[in-house]
Amino acid sequence: MTTDGWIPSTCGLCYGTCSIRAHRVDGVLVKIEGNPESAIGRGRLCGKGVSGIMTLYDPNRVNVPLRRTNPVKGKGVDPGFEEISWDEALDEVTARLRKVHDEDPRKLFVQRTTTNTSIRAPMLMFAAAFGTPNSWAAGGGLHCGNGAHLIGGLYHASWSLVPDFRHCRLAIYFGASKGHGAGHVACTNMQDAADARARGMRLVVVDPMANFASAKANEWVPIRPGTDAALALAMLDVILNDLGVWDAEYLARKTNAPYLVGPDGGYVRDAETGKPLVWDTARGHAVRYDTPDGGALALEGAYEVAGVRARPAFALLREHVRQFTPEWAERISSVPAASIRRLAREFATEAMIGSTVVLDGKRLPYRPVAAIYFRGAQGHRNSVYNCFAIELLNQVVGAADVVGGALGFNPVCYGHPETGKPWYEPKAGPDGLMVTGTWVAPHLPYPIPEPKHPTTMSLGGLFPLGMFGTTMASRDQEELWTQFGLPYRPEVMLNYGANSLLSVGNSDTVAETLRRIPFIVSFDITLTEFSEFADVVLPDASYLEAFDSRPNVPFIFNHPAGLGEWSWPVRQPVVPPAGQRRMAAEVLLELVDRLGIREEFNAVANTHLKLDGPHRLEFATPYPYAEICDRELKSHFGAARGLAWFKEHGVISWPKRVEEVYWRAFLDVRVPVYWEFLIGLNRKAKPIATAHGLDWDDAWYDPLPRWMPCPSHEVADGAFDLWGFYYRDTLHTNSFTNENPWLDEASRLDPFSYTIALNAATGRRKGLRDGQEVTLESPHGRRVRGRVHLTETVHPECVGIGGCAGHWARTLPIARGKGVMFNDLLEVDWAHGSPVNLNLDTCVKLRVAP
């Protein structure tokens, strides 16, 4: 008899994690669709999600544990894997882990992919229980978020932001593709963005390339890579100084714009409480910023306070941006000054400052403009100031988390109506500045920890604005670790699914760092370039063979913004794991018990998963992963809604409230238009850095943003006349999906996926033909080859490369030899990292030759 059913679950082919329904017939998966019952995707699914069936049934899946027999490690070197039993594999892994746990747990280096988010919690919990701080997402952060997520957290208490698609009238994207590509909340955002455009929202996209967002925009503004801050600062100059437009009420009540700043750049503080002072024009004297019933707070002028001449932070900002004229910005960014003035005027006008709208009986500010930034603006040495400057566009017109404006992804949640969980909201922290209610990275964006002598592989303690650092895989990691006296070296690496050979920077540098790690164990679905460096490979169950109680948590990472519904879906197996494949989370728990760190793990799990009441884990009791998932669901949604309930229903949904979506009007928190805290950070970090031989430039620590050049902007050799950059191909996720045959076929049909996009006029001037094989070479002698695609859709001074292709592993027969690995052109060293947040610079000067 035929068995036929649809199983609700969650996609795992990008961190968009859309809700899916999988059609299974006689135990075989035959189709995947979007799940219309969930807000995450609302029934939509992209080509990657549909193609997951091909990943599940890939004939090259790893099915048994493997052990290396060839002690020599290198790119393209055959590891000589032999099949071993799970017991043999875990015996060896346990012995290696026990040794470093006894000696110094920091010798364990934990690495994971960003593609499958289900592993995030188990890996982080394992690392915390083990006691190692050395954990990263294999290039994630360095490329995509050290700056953008920091600013998203500081200003929106969220990982990222989108326009309020239902109400926005003008959105300006700076190197972002929200609603037009892959990633956070991909499928829901695509429909919301399409609906917004159909409704009449104007979309302007600032980008070196007219691809996914620009192609659907009303206007494409070509820009040189890494110059977004110059454009944004010039727009601020026009808005604040030429037009004289700003939202005084918002700035006075919701930011630190009125805080008085003294001659030393620090706040002028109340002698008794230490709180920053503001000038109350009604009272005619300075008061603490949190004085109840504060009158009209001055944003301009100069005042004698506590014996010093003080000015409101906003006055300093306004004066600061006066130097950044549109003509200055044109020289840097190539965006014409007239366009800058027009864009600034349109943004200021469309903001409709002072207007309100009534939603659900509540009168709320209405500011239907949004400046949105992501990878393009952030993937640079100057990511902090790029994103800071762009964000100030939202702040000066009050378009932050209000109707029509730039919305964080769900920074406030008051929970399911029956349980009040999950619950979180931002609150006021030191100096009244906002502290996020929930977060993803190792520490909150604010308040930042004091800089200290670094003791981690990333040197992060000295650079608390960053998440991950280049030294996790840099050319000069040993030199820098020696300079700072790092008292250990990584001895064991635990990898989940990441392919850092492709995802970080040039593969020669990354390979050298991997060769120095004595023992590498890797959970993999297929053998990749990274697996070639592994000593033991563990066969992982795919996302269609696994369960997870929290594929979309936290909501600030991957849940639709704006009004609508909350949805909490689960992931569950569509088919049982074939061969000897096992869920990595269950394997990690076995390692926890073998290592004797169950108490630590359960304590971490209680905190991390917010297990509550009878659902908390007793410290000493071993629980299987399914029970931990069950307890998490019951903690949030009541005893009747555990894993069994969710396996049947797939998702629980409930309506969002106006107070959750447009929370800014309801919560008494401020955000910084002036980063006074950078002064103290610089004062404390600089002596530590310079004492250990680092060059230091105070300009990176100014409280107000400026445009700082990337290394590519300082290349003097005119032969390198093009800027190279990469962009996210909507057909692929990181390097993982290149092996999927359906996506490969789509990529071969697509004129961009596997090619090098070069401006047609530029190409013709260089005598190049469309489809011709060319070599791109960096000033450091890095080279890649590929076919050039001549197009009008890329800046005349740039070449764009899509995705993260260019595989060479023989174990990847579909992906091998296709596309171009842009990252092979990138230097990974201190000079190409940010001295304020450790972000890697991902634009590079190039020359092209046949």
């Binding site: 954990s135 949640c413 929970g415 308040p447 303690g461 971490v604 209680n606 410290f619």
Partner: protein
């Protein structure tokens, strides 16, 4: 003075050089007092793992009293003198939210 059983988890055990110990504390001692005591006892690197800045505990630090979440102002000693168990750990990558 009441005695407590202290368990240091994850990196704190390495920084302290011990995973478990017994300590005598004032009857009125709070979790914050205990952390201050531990910072003094185990030295500056340990203190840096506990305090974000002088007097300000890291947001990602968690303390447990008899396996229950503890707030900084909670008293660490059990009423009646029986030894309480206190566990302290650092949870990087946490997500926040208390309810």
């Amino acid at each position: 003075m009441p005695e407590i059983r202290l368990k240091l988890m994850g990196p704190l055990a390495r920084l302290a050089g011990e995973r478990e110990t017994r300590l005598c504390v004032d009857e009125t001692a709070t979790v914050r007092d205990l952390l201050t005591l531990l910072a003094a006892r185990y030295g500056p690197e340990f203190a840096g793992a506990i305090f974000r800045a002088p007097g300000e505990v890291h947001t990602h630090l968690r303390a447990f009293l008899d396996e229950h979440d503890a707030e900084l102002d909670d008293r660490v000693a059990r009423a009646g003198g029986a030894a309480a168990s206190v566990a302290v750990l650092v949870v990087p990558g946490f997500e926040g939210g208390r309810r």
